[in-house]
């Protein structure tokens, strides 16, 4: 219980511990509100919903923040088929007590079933339309509309009552009474329902009693014997003979078999079919789930394999880079020791694509210094070997020069290489390098010598500028 002045929780004293106000009267008001809530609760428990609404409204008039009373009022309205009114009570309740409020539960249930919610709204609209038809004296349409409402929302008491009123106006008291009985089952003490039921009762003939009397008369035979009237039961045929018992049993068994065949067996079959369908659906779900798991595992494997491949590639690259730097280091050491040939050979094997910017700069600096010496040394050695007739050695040295620079010494290295091949009877290579001479240095004595060589072999020379092919 909270103080209405400062919202501080009250203790058992007469003064508020927060603001010091006298709260005796406030406590009385709240206690009375609670007592009315209890009355409302008892009435709701015995389905006196109208009485419960009355008590709960009075409770809330005393203390509007009585959340229990407001939630129960909403619940009672809901039970009476007034779902939208119930919603408004729960929303107000939630506004007064946002935390730990049972209204949350009710509101969530409604929010979680949007179809039901839409149905509720449609029912309200149809009822209002029915009421509008009544006002416009279109009672036939109103009856049709209200029958739909009652079918959609069997708890809507006022729809039952209005429908019953219309039926009573048409003189169909029997049907009106049926709808009123349904309303009575929902709200036992509704005064409108009870008044209408009384009206039906007054206008319906007491058929049961008369039927009973008529039947009694049919069962009796009376006749005059002198001055006395003798009344005795009419003689009836005795159907309890053995034959009739057997006949009845046979009919009963036949009916039983027919009921079993036409009603029970299809039900069992349907049940088995449903069960099988459920099992099939479950199995399909399980398979789908397994497939999903397999797929995800396969993806995982693929990803791991690609990671391994990338790691291997990185490892290979790292190995190549390491080798490249080792080759470059060997070249540098050879150069530092004055071994130009060794340095040049080592530099030729370095793949500069794997050197970083610093390594590339160092390579360029060393290569620039080494290359001149390397080419010159090899050319001189190659030329000397050619002159001495050591053709294999000449080819080896000159090839090193040509591989680095085909234009070395204005094509001298190329020419002597071609001639070395020629003399060594390696015409394939001889032709290849001769073609290069003709192509790069036309109109020179060397080109003419190369042409004579090709002519002797019957090979068509390339046009000047055309690249020789191997």
């Amino acid at each position: 219980m909270r103080c209405i002045f400062c919202e501080v929780t009250l203790d058992s004293g007469d003064k508020c511990p927060g603001c010091g106000e006298d709260v005796r009267l406030v406590k009385r008001i709240i206690a009375t509100s609670n007592a009315l809530y209890n009355i409302g609760l008892k009435r709701a428990a015995v389905r006196d919903l109208s009485g419960a609404v009355e008590a709960l409204k009075a409770s809330l008039k005393l203390y509007k923040q009585n959340t229990d009373a407001r939630n129960l009022l909403g619940l009672v309205y809901f039970e009476m088929g007034e779902q939208v009114t119930a919603l408004t009570e729960w929303v107000i309740s939630k506004n007064y007590q946002p935390e730990r409020n049972r209204a949350d539960e009710f509101l969530n249930k409604i929010q979680n079933s949007p179809n039901d919610f839409e149905n509720i709204n449609q029912t309200a609209k149809k009822y209002n339309q029915g009421l509008a038809y009544c006002m416009q004296d279109s009672e036939d349409l109103a009856v049709i509309q209200l029958k739909k409402v009652v079918a959609m929302n069997p708890k809507m008491i006022k729809a039952h009552q209005l429908l019953a009123l219309l039926l009573m106006k048409e003189g169909r008291y029997d049907l009106a009474r049926r709808y009123l009985r349904q309303a009575e089952k929902i709200d036992t003490n509704n005064t409108t329902t009870l008044r209408y039921l009384k009206e039906c009762k007054n206008n319906l003939p007491k058929e049961d009693g008369r039927r009973r009397k008529g039947k009694d008369r049919d069962d009796l035979v009376s006749y005059q014997s002198g001055n006395e009237t003798i009344i005795q039961p009419r003689k009836k045929h005795d159907f309890s003979s053995a034959t009739s018992v057997i006949l009845n049993l046979a009919i009963g068994i036949a009916i039983g078999v027919l009921i079993t065949w036409f009603l029970v067996v299809p039900g069992i079959r349907q049940s088995e079919k449903s069960s099988a369908n459920v099992s099939l659906s479950q199995a399909n779900d399980a398979i789908a789930e397994k497939e999903q798991t397999i797929l995800s595992l396969q993806n995982e494997i693929d990803e791991l394999e690609s990671q391994i491949e990338a790691a291997n590639q990185t490892s290979d690259d790292a190995q190549i880079v390491l080798t490249t730097y080792q080759q470059f280091l060997s070249a540098y050491i050879a150069y530092a020791n004055g071994d130009t040939e060794g340095a040049g050979n080592a530099l030729a094997s370095v793949n500069t694509d794997y050197l970083d910017a610093t390594g590339k700069n160092a390579y360029d600096a060393v290569a620039a210094q080494v290359q001149g010496d390397y080419l010159n040394t090899n050319y001189e050695a190659g030329y000397q070997a050619y002159q001495d007739g050591r053709l294999s050695e000449a080819i080896q040295n000159l090839l090193r020069v040509v591989n680095v620079d085909e234009t070395y010494q204005e094509g001298d290295a190329l020419y002597y290489l071609a001639m070395s091949y020629r003399k060594n009877k390696d015409d394939a290579n001889g032709v290849l390098y001769s073609q290069k001479i003709i192509s790069h240095y036309p109109d020179t004595e060397r080109a003419r010598e190369a042409l004579r060589y090709l002519d002797s072999l019957g090979v068509e020379p390339n046009a000047p500028g055309e690249e020789a092919t191997e």
């Binding site: 005393l62 509007k64 309200a124 209002n128 009552q161 209005l162 009123l165 009573m168």
Partner: protein, 48 residues
């Protein structure tokens, strides 16, 4: 004997969802504690 027209007047339209918000705001939620607080304030003004 029931008077149909008089009975019909007792029936009120059902609240529709679209009207719910308006209905909440238009409700008179004054309770006894509000009246009591107002009375207390008024009486204190008079005493001052």
């Amino acid at each position: 004997m029931i008077d149909f027209d008089e009975e019909l007047k007792r029936f009120e339209p059902s609240l529709e969802v679209e009207e719910a918000v308006e209905n909440i705001y238009s409700q008179d939620l004054t309770d006894m504690t509000d009246i009591f607080k107002d009375m207390l304030q008024e009486s204190r003004k008079i005493i001052k």
